[in-house]
Symmetry: C2
Subunit: 693 residues, 2 copies
């Protein structure tokens, strides 16, 4: 075996990847084999990362956007002896990835999942795999660094000055999300961001010549990036030169195009699509090991000196950095106690004491306000108390009402990294990934747009749920209430689609007070992202002396009103958001007529399902089968609450272009229709009861 | 008023747009005002379009990707006196857009909807509004033209040689989908495609300087496009030069960057975001009209000579072209009768006689096949009989099994426009829009990928449903059955999300015979797109002598098996796709034990809901409340069929990375679990019956 310790380490990464994929009989060996020299050079000589404290705040971030090459990351985490850490920069525990974990690659409960899963092991900065998401999040991380540095650094005490690296591939480059993210990164002049593009010219269908012949480097020049090229991934000296150029660059993000060989060393499969996504097979592995000068029958071999070489390189450098940082931090905390406390609270995903005082009850108002407007007010009140609550819109802030208007809340721009208002441009998908990257960096970040455009960023919303990051998604213009813009702009199936995502809290508040409670839930959640679904049109602010307090929102659904005389309800009217007032209208008439009616406001199904059965039955008693559900959306899922015999007033087609009032009449969203349905339900229930008697 | 007829026409377009938006008190006046000279020049001097026969097959396509500027298109359709046509190139009827329609802009039932809606008026080539979709579809239309030309043109008889124009804006340019589409268009060297980019430097939040400072022209050069610049949208001579350059270009798509002034002529609102999305107000309109030399109090004015000028320009040119084409076609049909018949059938959205013979019953097979494999076979058999059935994958054809393997079914590439296999690259969203564009052009087009990546292309799938185009979406790897790739690659909420889209047929077949029936439904549908949801893992081919014929799929759900002795069922087991075999397993045991059990296969909820109540009740009789539903997906929506007391075995979290068998055990998808649930349901039903007695 070679005396070259660097090469020894590189080949250890390669062989671990090959062996793990072979043993799992599943996985992607080719990219780790091709990229090992690049990843090794980056980690060993550049990445500021302390394996003993893998989450210390000022570490460089490494994002494996080519998530399918997960073995590359697992090998590095194992060989650097990265520890498992429970919370931020404390409590170093056992090894994050053991050799046994690697042998259990892709098996149940192994931290070495098919694609890197955030939370599964320290050192995994985010969940990657869906192409383009990693690079998108890396932009959010780089943005976060600029913002945090601006807020927390003091002369002589630099708390934050890290870099963000992302390894990406042809797939990332083809996905639109990465174009969006790269364009914004160039605009924002994120010189702390480095994408390393593995140009191996192979994708699943074969050569990239089949579908991808653009000049990627020229494209990044057009975005305003510093573009470099390394002609051979195995030329670690050239890789170093490129990374040094990145470190020197002061005003642009850096793009390093590296020409590599997928499945490097495999005698027959190198440079073929067969090296991408399946085990190489025993013979190819032996051949590759021979080519590396490796004992061909050894499996999961970590030769003598490899751990030590990593320890002497990245380990020692990282330890020195993190320990110097601790001293800096101690000094900093002495002279900037408040900021230090805020910094700590933020990193622990906490919120400043007293933040909930921003949420003052809103008095009843028949005219009311659009929930997007209420949300804008609430958000601004919260942002005053939570300095690291920030975000923006995909070119819709004037409509989504998400602009922060406090003193100093300017736009986040290359000339003002202190800004809290983010202009993501018409780039919903990148916005989603960027907000996720910001959330992963400690910020409480939100992204906003019209609900219909949630379709453009579904994959990023999903990833916020998978990663359990508390990203807040503010979606306005939530129904056919949009009016004249017509079917392409009127959400129908979006509510159901979001409700179906596990772990995501989709909340559609009915008035200003529910909006406040919705924000309370969103910011109190450390491990759940939230979608706020808000109206364009005004909704009355309910009189909470007459109706139940909006705090019921925290339980997902609650009894908003019951018969005044304490009778048990004969009929239940249920709704969310803008349809709750229709139920109120029908309820008033029914009550006046002596009918015992209940209104249930159901702003968040997911929270309701988390309540115990007793509560759920108390809100929706089995005995009452006369039920009317009403929502300006696809009805999918409502049967669960309306029951097999209930009436669901919802949308069964796309909308239409017309003023809102015409649409509400056309599609049957009026108090009168709810009243009619309630009466029909009461009659049906009576008939059934008689039949049963 | 001016003697310059061109300017008179341009200002008529502008003033109609301003007046219509003002009257509707809603809409987007600024872009039509800025772009009118460009759109006018294109239509009047270049576009090959016959207003009297607006759907003749060899017309140029005009795509208003900036759909919010819909008044631009409505004005042009009105001023060119475009006729309303019912079917392809026949039956010219009344005016497509009357002046009254324009006065009813954005009102219920006006063809002048907020955004252009395909089907609402002839001359609207596709529904646009969601940014990036229009340019994406334009690539599909240009691809279709190349394919059709290659298949149908004969020496001396050119049936097809049209160009495709798209008007796009800053929003389109920022959306990732347009980057994807542009990259592929450059790769495919679509010299018949011209994008005209309205660079007005204003978006909703303000100046594009806030978020968008890339060099767009340089980006398109990197994609391999012919890039041109017009410094002033009002310089119609420069616009002409650019369009002439496009017409001369033989090997690249053309990108014309036009610098324009949003709200051109409005005294205070020109070049401001206020001109974008709201009425200008009476004063601004008067001011703009003064600037145009227009009578400032006249509304909806079409000055003398305007209709005539259009008639003499685009009208005369279009009539000559379409009438010459008809002669060509008549000659063509004489010598190429078969091809001419095929061409006609295709344009009428028909299929060649005998196409269904491709669907031969598949014999029972306990080992069976993955439904993706069955689909691949079925697709190939169909493609043999339907020459214009074609499509591809987003770099996943080897996995989605969508490659067409017939003689001559090569790859569609710049060097082979006859190919039927499309390599879309890792560009799901563009694939969606491109397939829509191909479908709109007469082709029966499909796009494929992993089900999880449907999230990347939701907006395009939705648009196929809104436009009622029969695009076919082939999604494989449909559940946690994906196995080792883990949570990021395992669909959970995607099925529910797709089922919620109005008009989309989401079909999850359970075996090879249901796969055939699913394809039959997909290709028989002229106005509904279809999602085929297919397994990665093998599923047994049911013995259709023992179980009901798969033809039941056409009704969405059907009784697959009932008690052999003719008893009424006591318990219903229902499922789709890979979970049907689990029901079969449980049913066998129950039957052996003398329990009267029914299996319902429910491959397509949407089709089931379209059946009459009698049929639906016959499949799911009210009396049987003992029900078990099982599906490896989010449970949202199943309550409708399982009832309030039924058991739903589904997914409530994301999946995990492990071999499939471990996952099925972990998450409870086994025949045994179904059996247990069925027994518990029977016990519950018995108790309830007793209680009722």
């Amino acid at each position: 075996m070679t005396d070259d310790k660097d090469l020894l380490c590189i080949n250890t990464i390669r062989t671990l990847a090959m062996d793990a994929v072979q043993k799992a009989n599943s996985g992607h060996p080719g990219t780790p084999m091709g990229l090992a020299p690049v990843a090794y050079t980056l980690w060993q000589d550049f990445l500021r990362f302390d394996p003993a404290e893998p989450t210390w705040p000022n570490r460089d971030r490494f994002v494996l956007s080519v998530g399918h090459a997960s073995m590359l990351l697992y090998s590095l985490l194992h060989l650097t002896r990265t520890r498992q850490v429970k919370s931020n920069f404390r409590d170093a525990g056992p090894a994050a990835i053991t050799l046994d974990d690697i042998k259990n690659f892709r098996q149940l409960n192994s931290p070495c999942a098919g694609h890197p899963e955030f939370h599964m092991a320290s050192g995994i900065e985010c969940t990657t795999g869906p192409l383009g998401q990693g690079v998108g999040m890396s932009v959010g991380m780089a943005i976060a660094e600029r913002w945090l540095a601006t807020r927390y650094n003091k002369p002589g005490a630099t708390l934050i000055d890290y870099d963000v690296y992302a390894l990406c591939g042809d797939g990332d480059m083809m996905e639109g999300i990465s174009s969006e993210a790269a364009s914004l990164a160039g605009h924002l002049r994120l010189s702390n961001l480095c994408w390393i593009y593995d140009s191996n010219r192979i994708s699943i269908e074969g050569s990239t010549d089949l579908a991808f012949s653009e000049d990627v480097g020229a494209r990044f020049l057009a975005y305003g990036w510093n573009v470099l090229r390394v002609r051979d991934a195995n030329d670690t000296a050239a890789v170093k030169l490129a990374l040094q150029s990145f470190k020197r660059e002061q005003s642009r993000p850096t793009f390093i195009l590296v020409e590599s060989h997928i499945g490097y060393g495999a005698p027959h499969k190198q440079d073929t699509k067969e090296a991408h996504g399946e085990p190489l097979g025993a013979d190819e592995i032996k051949g590759a090991k021979r080519a590396y000068g490796w004992p061909e029958d050894a499996q999961f071999l970590v030769p003598d000196g490899v751990y030590e070489h990593f320890a002497a390189g990245i380990g020692a450098r990282g330890a020195a950095s993190s320990s110097a940082w601790k001293q800096t931090y101690a000094r900093y905390a002495e002279t900037n106690a408040d900021l230090a406390r805020e910094f700590d609270t933020m990193l622990a995903q906490g919120l400043p004491a007293g933040w909930e005082e921003a949420l003052a009850p809103v008095p009843a108002d028949a005219k009311g306000a659009a929930t997007r407007d209420s949300s804008g007010k609430t958000l601004n009140a919260l942002a005053e108390r939570i300095p690291y609550l920030l975000g923006g819109a995909a070119d819709l802030a004037p409509s989504t009402k998400t602009a922060l208007k406090g003193k100093g809340d300017g736009s986040f721009e290359a000339t003002n990294y202190a800004g809290r208002n983010f202009h993501f441009g018409v780039r919903e998908h990148a916005m989603g990934a960027i907000v996720n990257g910001m959330s992963l960096s400690g910020l409480r970040a939100f992204g906003s747009g019209f609900l219909i455009f949630s379709d453009y960023m579904r994959a990023a919303i999903r990833l916020s749920a998978i990663q359990e990051t508390p990203s807040v998604w503010v979606f306005t213009h939530d129904s056919i209430g949009v009016g004249e813009d017509g079917p392409t702009h009127q959400p129908i199936e979006q509510l159901a689609s979001l409700r179906a995502i596990p772990g995501l809290h989709t909340i559609r508040p009915c008035d200003a007070n529910e909006v406040e409670e919705a924000w309370r839930v969103a910011l109190s959640s450390k491990y759940h992202p939230t979608c706020l679904i808000l109206s364009r049109q005004p909704l009355p602010t309910l009189d909470r002396a007459k109706f139940a307090p909006a705090a019921g929102l925290a339980r997902g659904a609650y009894v908003l009103a019951d018969p005044a005389d304490g009778r048990a309800p004969e009929v239940i009217l249920m709704a969310t958001g803008s349809e709750v007032p229709l139920c109120v209208e029908a309820w008033e008439t029914l009550s006046a007529e002596g009918v015992a009616a209940r209104i249930v406001s159901m702003p968040c199904w997911d929270l309701f399902e988390q309540q115990d059965e007793a509560y759920r039955r108390s809100v929706l008693p089995d005995a009452v089968t006369a039920r009317v559900a009403v929502e300006q959306a696809a009805t999918l899922g409502w049967d669960r609450y309306a029951g097999l015999h209930g009436t669901i007033i919802g949308m069964h087609t796309f909308g239409a272009s017309a003023p809102m009032k015409s649409l509400l009449t056309k599609f049957g969203f009026t108090g009168e229709k709810v009243l009619e349905a309630a009466r029909a339900q009461l009659a049906r229930q009576k008939t059934m009861h008689r039949a049963a008697e």
